[in-house]
Amino acid sequence: MKTLTGIFVTLGVLLAATGDATVPNGGTDFTPQFGVSSDNDAILSDNDLVQQYCVGCHNDRRLRGNMSLEGFNAERPEDNGALAEAMIVKLRAGMMPPPGVRRPSGDALQVLAASLEERIDVAAVRDPNPGGRTFQRLNQIEYERSIENLLGLDIDGGQFLPLDTKSANFDNIADVQLLSPTLLDAYLNAAAVVSRLAVGDRDAAASSSTYTNSGYTTQWDRAEGAPYGTRGGISVTHNFVADGEYEFRLALEHTTTGEYYGGTIPREQLEVSIDGERVALVDVDTWMNVADPNGVNMRTEPVFVRAGPRRVTAAFLKQHEGPMEDLLSPHDWSLADRQIGVRGYGVTSPAHLKDLVVAGPTNVTGVSHTPTRERIFTCRPTAASEERTCAESIINRLGSQAFRRPLTDDDLPALMDFYEYGSDEGGFEIGVRTALEALLASPDFVFRFEEAPEGVEIGTNYEISDVDLASRLSFFLWGGPPDSELVALASQGELSDEAVLEGQVRRMLADPRSEALATRFAAQWLRLDDLDQVHPDRLLFPDFHQQLSDAMRSETELFFSNLVREDLSFFDLYTADYTFLNERLARHYGVQGVRGEGFRKVQYPDERRRGLFGHGSILTLTSHAGRTSPVLRGKWVMEVMLGTPPPPPPPNVPDLDETATSVEGRALTTRERMEVHRSNPSCNSCHRFMDPIGLALETYDVIGQWRLRENGIPVDSQGELYDGTIISSPVELQSALLKRPIPLVRTFTQNLMAYALGRRVEFYDQTAIRSIVREAEKNDYQMSAFILGVVKSDAFRMQRAGAVADAASD
């Protein structure tokens, strides 16, 4: 209260404080007195508590936070579940009443939250609601994984399917997976292309595929997958559709005035290799210019390549080993400055491969055996009479795998009709290919239908079938289709057995495919995709580049994956004194003794980094290009970790970038600029939550490196958390948050559940979440406890029949 300013008075303190209420002293033995309306306000009823401490702001007139508790009955919170759950979130986070506003002392508010929860949970037992959703469709990445699973073919889903719409952080939320003729056409087209790639295409017409290096890629180091002894370039797996001649075109980076970039290294050679074997070596003409007829491009002679997936690399031959010293030490990002790459003395700048184009085939000689063909053609008819039987066995096998269930009596004949149609056109292989095309375009592949009991009444709950449960499980834990063991158990009706189910979950978590929980679930929950949106200022951070950014992402994913595989505690996300680093990232963090490209578990040498808050990924994705953003960092913690997103800024708020950057010739620190910005009271009401959190992380710069000074001025990272705790370092922030673990654990569970279910978590799911968290607590918050909790929940195993609005319908 001592920092109370005028605005907080008007915010309703006076309204809330009725009379001279002495604050009840709720000790540990405090028991809520239900329904007691007493003159003695040492013991207030829940409704009185709400009246005294909440309604002052949250009433019909003031509607603070767009919420009114005027008619709210704390004795029957289940009558207004959505509102009650919203209250619980804020109370559990300790954010309400807001800082500076009078609060009841002791744990009265926590007890209020607990009793609201209890009443809701008791009511939920009487009328459980597992919720419901419509069917999901394969999104880009699930499509990729399904194709890889079915055909062993590595494709880029983004080449065929639209970018997935996200809802509640995730890309698999059923009701925003819109359908349209164009989308349907996209799946048809993908089916046509993928089936041809899989079987090979003797009639393929020449076309070209372009692989582009991000401009943020550095070309100093060997590209992943490229042969040793090379530097930079592009290395990809390309699916060659037929045996034939292919040409490789190489576009190099040039300066803004059109000259070849990298003229300071006199003799460069570009090697094109296929599966590690050199097929061409091109001398780079360092005098190339965009003005030349061929521009800054080169090409190889046509090269004969056999069909199938092959590692194609175009990379520069490495001319020297060891550190580079020059008049100016070269920066890590080889393209940070495009001007010095021309012909300057004393600054070595390496050439940069921009595009690799694979063009062809021409002079097709046939289609060789490829791993995919071997997987498809498990039998080979030697006479025409054997063809149909062989085709039938192939299609039956591929079909049940594609449909994630045994084929029905209707499926197989229909698919065989496609075989006949295709084989009439071009023989056995084309027949199989056409049936495959039909399979891949079929709604049973593209959608994940879940059967409902016949004639189920709207509003009733039913258990989903074992076969559907198998798919839910595998898409949750593996991000892809179920394997034969799951499908077999499901077809025998055994999967829904509690013990079998738990056994399968544990088996699946031990399987390497469970890395999907890190790369799909955690990556989306933690917003790692945002890392690609941040391009730290090239002049301030010339050592930041794509590979470093990728390493940061890998660190976080490996860290989470390790939690799952080793079944560690959820709280390691906050407290872990270890992480996963490779040499480049270790150097970035100043950690000694890590050599090589591979990641390994590394102990932090000191207390500067702990858990996720020390990860470069999180720190970078919450920064601006040229400065850190305590606001974004605070907002990230509030949204992602605490589940209490701050409201968007009101309109007409000046950007921080528009506040002065210096005073009397002295550059201000980010903190100082923020303080100028925060002098606006309407900003301050939210920023006092966000900013102290972010300020505690100010000792990490834009790219997550430890710093003690900013613009030459010592970093002041001290702030007052919304609960009054003074925090000034990442570790203090972490322990302040851990004082109230409930919001952290529940937010995680809620996200896990949304991802597992493919729908947004609603207020009626909170009962299940609380129960999962209680179980997890008994198991020391091990990751498996959360995962099993979700899998065993009604929401995961059941469905409420009801007309769920499809976001597509208008």
Binding site: F135, T182, N189, A204, A205, T210, V290, L335, A625, V804
Partner: protein, 464 residues
């Protein structure tokens, strides 16, 4: 290309899926009942739009060049002489030509000290938006909604592809552009909204496949189309089964899916019917990729656009004919000075004349397209009459990086809303957006009251 976020990619990849559909000119019978509604009748045949950007302004925008009429002819009205002008190649097409001279693109000018000099990296984003781009290297890009997208939003929704964006030069010069501008400002002239620059297609093969379906040959495309048809047939049967198997949560969505299947079937059937009746538009073999020669590349891009209009797959194109700072040489133009260096002619008369040759060469690419459009018969008229082609530059005198007296011409009949054979000279200081507001009105957006930084509408002559 890191700037392709969210919806942009969605659209781009949607387009890739256009598969085996070649839609045909709009017929009432093709409208599924209740989907498009009666309002469609009014705009059953909206004006096709091609918005072309040429970078680096023109020699005629230079003070001396203007006195020599290197771009705008001396006379206004109908009796203008194009002999000295870069527009000379359009003389045979003057009945379809409207020259709008002397407009300025003020939104491309620097607004603050740190924006000075960044004209090359900012201007393209201004051309069709007439809005001043926010200087940023991050993802928080902001310009305006572009003219072509305004048209596509309203009139492009009934074709399989609402609009398509094409270019000639390699885009996304990586590593950020310069002067604190992200490359999307330099690469994208089409903006679906102020924060949504659209990606651009350079490879005519990619454009072709998005428009007409995948497959190198006509036979291959036909086989694919037939296969897709049979698959859809089978899917329809399967949906009937699913209606019984699935729960109430899914039925509405399944119905939606069935509608989509029907819509695709309809598209395929109309193509098939057209093939049977022998009226199919001749589609050439799909182009193999990006050719080396500028002129060849240009012709393929014109072919793709003309074909798309002929088969009514889309009605809106934007086409970026070059890229700022491009140092490409155009030997056929008569000078071998690279484009960007030539544009910095230093005000020397001979150098201005050199640059002028390049301008004229670029303009000489247009008649091929005009010829193509005129050859597409549409009832008793032809496609050129139904099309508006905008050709202009957001730069004025490139030597000074100024944005005054910018090149702007309009071609085509615009469904009878442009009279042609007209040179309009705007009063000094008129923003180009005033002319564009006029053009938008002629395109059918009569309710628009402003565009970009427009101050009023520039009169564009008699509506025929």
């Amino acid at each position: 290309m890191e700037f392709i976020t969210g919806r942009h990619l969605e659209r781009r990849t949607f387009l890739k899926g256009m598969g085996a559909t070649v839609a045909l000119p709009f017929l009432d019978a093709m409208v599924p009942a209740g989907r498009l509604g009666a309002s469609m009748a009014r705009r059953a045949d909206p004006t096709r739009l091609v918005a072309i950007e040429m970078v680096h302004g023109a020699a005629g925008s230079n003070e001396w060049g203007a006195t020599q009429n290197l771009w705008a002819p001396a006379a206004v009205g109908h009796d203008f002489d194009l002999t000295p002008s870069a527009l000379l190649p359009l003389d045979p097409w003057r009945e379809y030509l409207t020259i709008i001279s002397n407009t300025d693109v003020r939104m491309a000018e620097p607004f603050s000290a740190k924006e000075i000099g960044g004209d090359h990296f900012r201007s393209s984003a201004v051309f069709l938006t007439q809005s001043h781009p926010k200087q940023t290297e991050g993802s928080d890009v902001y310009a305006g909604t572009s003219l072509d997208q305004i048209h596509a939003h309203r009139f492009g929704q009934d074709t399989p592809i609402p609009s398509m964006q094409l270019c000639i030069e390699n885009i996304n010069q990586s590593g950020g552009c310069a002067y604190g501008y992200t490359c999307v400002y330099t690469d994208s002239i089409s903006w679906a909204s102020p924060s949504e620059p659209l990606p651009v297609i350079r490879d005519p093969r990619v454009a072709f496949e998005q428009l007409f379906g995948v497959g190198g040959t006509k036979a291959e495309r036909e086989f694919r189309r037939r296969t897709s048809g049979s698959i859809l047939d089978w899917v329809t049967g399967r949906i009937a089964q699913l209606e019984r198997e699935l729960g109430p949560n899914d039925r509405e969505r399944l119905d939606r899916y069935l509608q989509d299947v029907r819509e695709l079937e309809r598209r395929i059937q109309t193509v098939e019917a057209r093939n049977l009746s022998g009226q199919e538009r001749e589609l050439p073999e799909a182009p193999a990729g990006v050719p080396d020669l500028f002129e060849e590349h240009m012709k393929l891009m014109w072919d793709v656009q003309a074909l798309a209009f002929a088969s009514d797959v889309t009605r809106v194109f934007s086409f970026k004919m070059s890229r700022d700072s491009s140092a490409r040489v155009f030997p056929e133009s008569g000078t071998d000075r690279p484009f960007h260096p030539a544009s910095h002619h230093g005000g020397r008369e001979s150098a201005i004349q050199d640059f002028h040759l390049i301008n004229r060469y670029h303009v000489s690419m247009l008649p091929y397209f005009l010829e193509k459009l005129k050859g597409i018969q549409e009832g008793d008229t032809h496609m050129l009459d139904k099309t508006m082609i905008i050709y202009g530059s957001p730069m004025g005198d490139p030597n000074l990086h100024n944005h005054r007296r910018n090149p702007l011409v309009v071609l085509g009949g615009a469904n009878g809303r442009l009279e042609g054979n007209l040179h309009l000279k705007a009063p000094d200081g008129t923003p180009m957006s005033n002319a564009m507001l006029g053009l938008l009105h002629r395109l059918g957006h009569d309710d628009m009251t402003s565009f970009g930084d427009s101050t009023s509408e520039l009169g564009l002559g008699r509506k025929v």
